[in-house]
């Protein structure tokens, strides 16, 4: 059984390493500041005891006021999981650091979020539309997008 690590406990450890990086933490997830995302991701991947070497899924949710990116991490060695979250309050030009350098598996998923949600990933090597074509107006998964065919 994959053990879901408590976000609160990990938040304590991260707080020592990266002061001021944690916004919020509860039993199931851990919300961090986007400027610390890359450092925390590297830390979680390389620190023995955590070893989160497997990025299951990256996705973004549009909560109207802000975008929330959700990273599902798993450690194959220890068989435990963690949900990492990042918020992005800028609706006009949302930008989040890319984690492709840490987990290659984020490559296509981040491109997909860029395409459908319009969030830019800084440091992504090949950030362009993936499922829609160049010149498509808007980002369909945003809540304000009315995607009915006319």
């Amino acid at each position: 059984m994959t053990i879901a690590l408590s976000g609160r406990k990990i938040a304590g450890k991260l707080q020592e390493q990266f002061p001021g990086s944690i916004v919020q933490s509860d039993e199931s997830s851990l919300l961090v500041k986007s400027e610390h995302l890359l450092a925390i991701a590297t830390f979680l991947k390389t620190t023995p005891g955590f070893d989160f070497d497997y990025l299951t899924s990256v996705t973004a949710v549009d909560y109207r006021d802000y975008f929330e990116l959700v990273y599902h991490l798993i450690s194959i060695e220890h068989n435990h999981s963690l949900v990492l979250k990042v918020r992005c309050h800028d609706r006009e030009n949302p930008t989040v650091p890319s984690v492709v350098g840490v987990w290659r598996g984020a490559d296509f998923q981040e491109r997909e979020i860029y395409d459908l949600m319009g969030i830019k990933f800084e440091g992504h090597p090949n950030l362009k539309r993936i499922v829609l074509w160049e010149g498509f107006q808007g980002h369909p998964l945003r809540k304000e997008y009315k995607g009915i065919y006319k």
């Binding site: 949710v61 959700v70 949900v83 995607g147």
Partner: protein, 367 residues
């Protein structure tokens, strides 16, 4: 010393006989050798994630059928598991067993197509895939018995399955489970003793263990690289913790290992089905849920081991009748991350074989 020629660009797909749908690869070739490759997606992007936000939880089940259309039952299962996790709906024992039986049958059906089309891509002029489809038809018959459909079953429901199995189902299933191993052995012999195929698959398209984990590969691609990671074992959902089965793994991570893993998985699936048939309890098959269910505010991520890999559904609810966010973690898409690394330096024919050995389904890649 290979002779270098002037590189040229060539487009594989979207209408190409062996791209398993409408996949496209922009490749740069040096003679026959691939020196660069960029996958292009989106030719089947139907916007399921957006459409699902406009339908109720139950109405979304048919969408999941059309994701990985070779494994509709597995997709149904993953989705209903996510909604059940979100809303806390209990599932009757009998329904859990039926789900396991269906998911495992679906795995066999999907792997049959995967292996068949891999051989077809290697140029075996339709013969293997036609034999595989012959066996798959028997599974489709079983599914038709329970759901009335041949491809898009829409069988699982939130809190169970749509209907109980008919009386003829179990005898037919028993007959199938009895006969299938000999067919699998036959197909195994077809490949394991064919020099041409061994030469074309062994050592081709190697994906190392570290690479496989780093690109978040899952399913047979991950296990072919030697990582013993099967969600049925490491994070058992439904009633998988009650069955005995092994996780087949490869050693080298080449196309041949991925093929072997699929063949072995079919055998393991049969083992699970046999046990599930023996343990199948009687009783109800569906918990009553409100017609218009309103799950509490929150989010849930449920993942299963689908034939292609880890299929996950991430659902956010805002306490309305429709999901607020409906995200699909598609194994086919993520497994393709490695395609470039695996195929650069190989020949055109290898690219096709490597691509076939990853086994993708375009409905799931593009969604």
């Amino acid at each position: 010393m290979p002779i270098k020629t002037e590189p040229f660009a060539i487009n594989f797909g979207p209408f190409h006989p062996s791209t398993h749908g409408v996949f496209r690869m922009r490749t740069t070739l040096d003679g026959e050798v691939i020196i660069d490759l960029e996958p292009v997606f989106g030719y089947l992007h139907r916007g399921i994630e957006k459409l699902a936000e406009g339908r109720t939880y139950t109405q979304n089940i048919p969408f999941t059928d059309r994701l990985d259309y070779l494994a509709s039952m597995s997709n149904n299962l993953a989705y209903v598991l996510a909604v059940e996790k979100l809303a806390g709906v209990p599932v009757p024992e009998r329904a859990e067993y039926l789900r396991v039986i269906m998911a495992e049958l679906q795995r066999i059906a999907s792997h049959l197509i995967a292996v068949g089309s891999l051989l077809n891509d290697c140029g075996a002029f339709m013969t293997p895939i036609l034999y595989m489809i012959r066996e798959r038809e028997k599974i489709l018959d079983l599914f038709e018995m329970v759901s009335g459909q041949r491809l898009t079953y829409n069988y699982m429901r939130i809190g169970g399955v749509s209907q109980d199995i008919p009386d003829e189902f179990l005898p037919a299933l028993e007959k199938f489970v009895e006969r299938m191993p000999s067919y699998i052995d036959e197909y195994d012999r077809l490949l394991a003793e064919n020099e041409i195929l061994l030469a074309r698959l062994k050592g081709v398209g190697i994906l190392s263990k570290g690479q496989a984990i780093n690109i978040s590969a899952s399913g047979p691609v991950l296990r072919g690289s030697g990582v013993e990671w099967d969600i049925r074992k490491v994070d058992p959902y439904s009633v998988y913790d009650r069955f005995e089965f092994d996780i087949p793994t490869g050693t080298l991570g080449d196309s041949y290992d991925r093929y072997r893993v699929r063949i072995e998985e079919m055998r393991q699936s049969l083992r699970i089905i046999e046990q599930a048939m023996k343990q199948l309890p009687s009783g109800a098959v569906k918990t009553d849920v409100p017609w218009l269910m309103l799950p509490p505010r929150g989010e849930a991520y449920a993942h299963i081991e689908s034939p292609k890999g880890e299929l996950g559904f991430y659902i956010v609810s805002d306490n309305s009748a429709k999901p607020y966010r409906f995200h699909i973690r598609a194994p086919s898409l993520i497994n393709l991350t490695a395609l470039r690394d695996m195929s650069v330096g190989w020949k055109i024919a290898d690219l096709i074989a490597i691509f076939g050995s990853i086994d993708i389904c375009m409905g799931e890649v593009d969604r």
